[in-house]
């Protein structure tokens, strides 16, 4: 099978049952993406497919051939952090760090959804094209990513600092 991962075309001989998550970790050795629950309940495995956040544990790899997959490795490196990675450090957006790659990929997808005007479960007026990304909106939109260390406040602060300071300018 042929895939597009972080801008590169890669080949992998994998069983049809292989999840996108296992393809990334076990076959391509991109271990930034984490396996938490492996059943779509925690968000640790979140990656971007054509810019949209998905749970790679529930995705059969074979379905994602030809899609542009972006993992945490494609967003930033140790030498060149993604601005959100730097903000997570600044705001203590993690303790153990296990959920962090998923949180960051999720936040990147979340901001793109918000910029396209997508509402959430806490949006007051569904017909409003300009939804203010306040604390409740951020928490709701990030609710698919659990952090068992309880760093959610730091995560929200990091997202606000990275994206909403710019939006306010």
């Amino acid at each position: 099978m042929q895939f597009r991962i972080n801008g590169q075309t890669v080949e992998a001989a994998v069983d049809v049952r292989t999840s996108l998550l296992d393809l990334l970790r076990e076959h391509l050795h991109l271990t930034g993406t984490k396996k938490g629950c492996n059943q779509g309940a925690c968000g640790a495995c979140t990656v971007l497919a054509d810019g949209q956040r998905i749970n790679s544990c529930l995705a059969l790899a074979i379905q994602y051939q030809g899609r542009e997959i972006t993992t945490i490795e494609g967003l930033g490196t140790a030498d060149a952090l993604h601005p959100l990675q730097a903000a997570f450090i600044e705001h203590d957006g993690f303790q153990c760090g296990y959920c962090t790659p998923g949180q960051i990929c999720s936040a990147v997808g979340m901001i793109a959804e918000w910029e396209r005007g997508l509402p959430s479960a806490v949006t007051g007026d569904l017909t409003d094209g300009n939804i203010a990304l306040d604390h409740d909106e951020l928490r709701e939109r990030m609710s698919g990513n659990l952090c068992r260390c309880g760093a959610h406040n730091g995560i929200i602060a990091a997202i606000r600092d990275t994206y909403l300071a710019e939006a306010a300018e």
């Binding site: 059943q39 956040r53 998905i54 379905q63 997808g109 509402p119 479960a121 709701e140 990513n145």
Partner: protein, 323 residues
């Protein structure tokens, strides 16, 4: 997960040709892949239909046709759905997480299977998983289970939020199978458990959901969806209510109500709707309507709270719509 053959369908015709006797249609996979990993679902072939029936179209005479392959996110985000059927947008947005909504299809949402713990646990007895085995939920931990329409064989609930709104809106499901096309009202697609909880829908072998049609419901602009759950996001409903109100001069001309989290299928509250018609839009009328609907409730050892919760949620949602 057992081995399976994988084929990608280019159109509905090729999907029907590929599916075979023990195949399953695959779209987002958010429920099916999980169930296959648990070997609860054991298809020997998967036909990927995620690339077909992927558009939302406004109909010439009003109403909207939603392709079965459209993602949940795309339905919730669609400007016409947000404006004309807010309860549907809100129901979808109340379900799962953004990641799952980005993957999950409309057809798959309709056909998702119960979240009863005993259905998932292959060490437990479950008539849905193994017909005739018995049910460990009836005398077990049944806080999340059904209070309406259950049977001695099954007390599971249907987990979808989207389908609750579809039931309230009188949505029509368009199907295609080896014998051709047909339509079914959404409220007739899912079965109550009766003696065969393993047969969950009216779908015939190999039939594929092609689209869902939302009829014109002008007063659905005044509609919403409220989900009551153990945490404020990303949890299944204990009770949910989809409702629309048609008000005239302080009275209810017409109304639509459906309940989630209470039955084996999205529960259209016909008794409550009938009780509301022509009544003043007051808390007293709303309470009477809720009482009428829940009169037949039969709670289990652990979910008696759902009866009052459902009543109060109905009243609260109707009050919000009438305000």
């Amino acid at each position: 997960m057992i081995e399976f053959r994988y084929d990608r369908a280019d159109d509905v015709g090729s999907a029907l040709g590929l599916i075979g006797e023990s195949g399953k249609y695959l779209a987002g996979g958010t429920n099916l892949v999980d169930l296959m990993r648990e070997t609860i679902e054991r298809p020997t072939a998967l036909v990927d239909v995620s690339g077909i029936s992927g558009s939302i179209e406004e109909q010439a005479g009003g109403g909207v046709r939603i392709g079965a392959g459209v993602t949940n996110s795309a339905v919730a985000a669609h400007p016409v759905i947000r404006r004309d059927y807010p309860m549907l947008s809100r129901a979808i947005l109340a379900g799962a997480s953004a990641q799952i909504r980005n993957m999950a299809s409309v057809g798959g949402n309709i056909l998702q299977r119960t979240r009863c713990y005993y259905f998932y646990d292959d060490a437990a007895r479950c008539n849905k998983r193994a017909p005739g085995a018995g049910c460990d939920a009836i005398d077990g931990f049944n806080r999340i289970h059904a209070i309406l329409g259950a049977s001695p064989d099954c007390v599971a609930t249907h987990p979808s939020d989207m389908c609750v709104a579809l039931a309230a809106l009188d949505a029509i499901v368009h199907l295609r199978g080896p014998e051709g096309e047909r339509t079914l009202p959404c409220v007739e697609l899912h079965h109550l458990p009766g003696g065969r909880p393993d047969i969950e829908t009216a779908l015939k072998p190999r039939e594929l959901i092609v689209s869902v049609e939302l009829p014109v419901v002008p007063f659905a602009r005044r509609s919403t969806y409220r989900k009551v759950r153990d945490r404020s996001s990303y949890a299944f409903a204990l009770v949910s209510v989809a409702a629309a109100l048609d008000l005239e001069g302080g009275a209810v001309r017409d109304g639509r109500i459906a309940l989630g989290g209470v039955a084996h299928k999205p529960w259209r509250a016909y008794a409550a709707e009938a009780a509301l018609k022509g009544k003043p839009a007051t808390a007293e009328s709303f309470r009477a309507a809720a009482e009428a609907e829940l009169k037949g409730a039969a709670p289990l050892s652990g979910n008696g709270f759902k009866v009052e919760l459902a009543k109060r949620t109905i009243v609260s949602v109707l009050q919000e719509l009438a305000a």
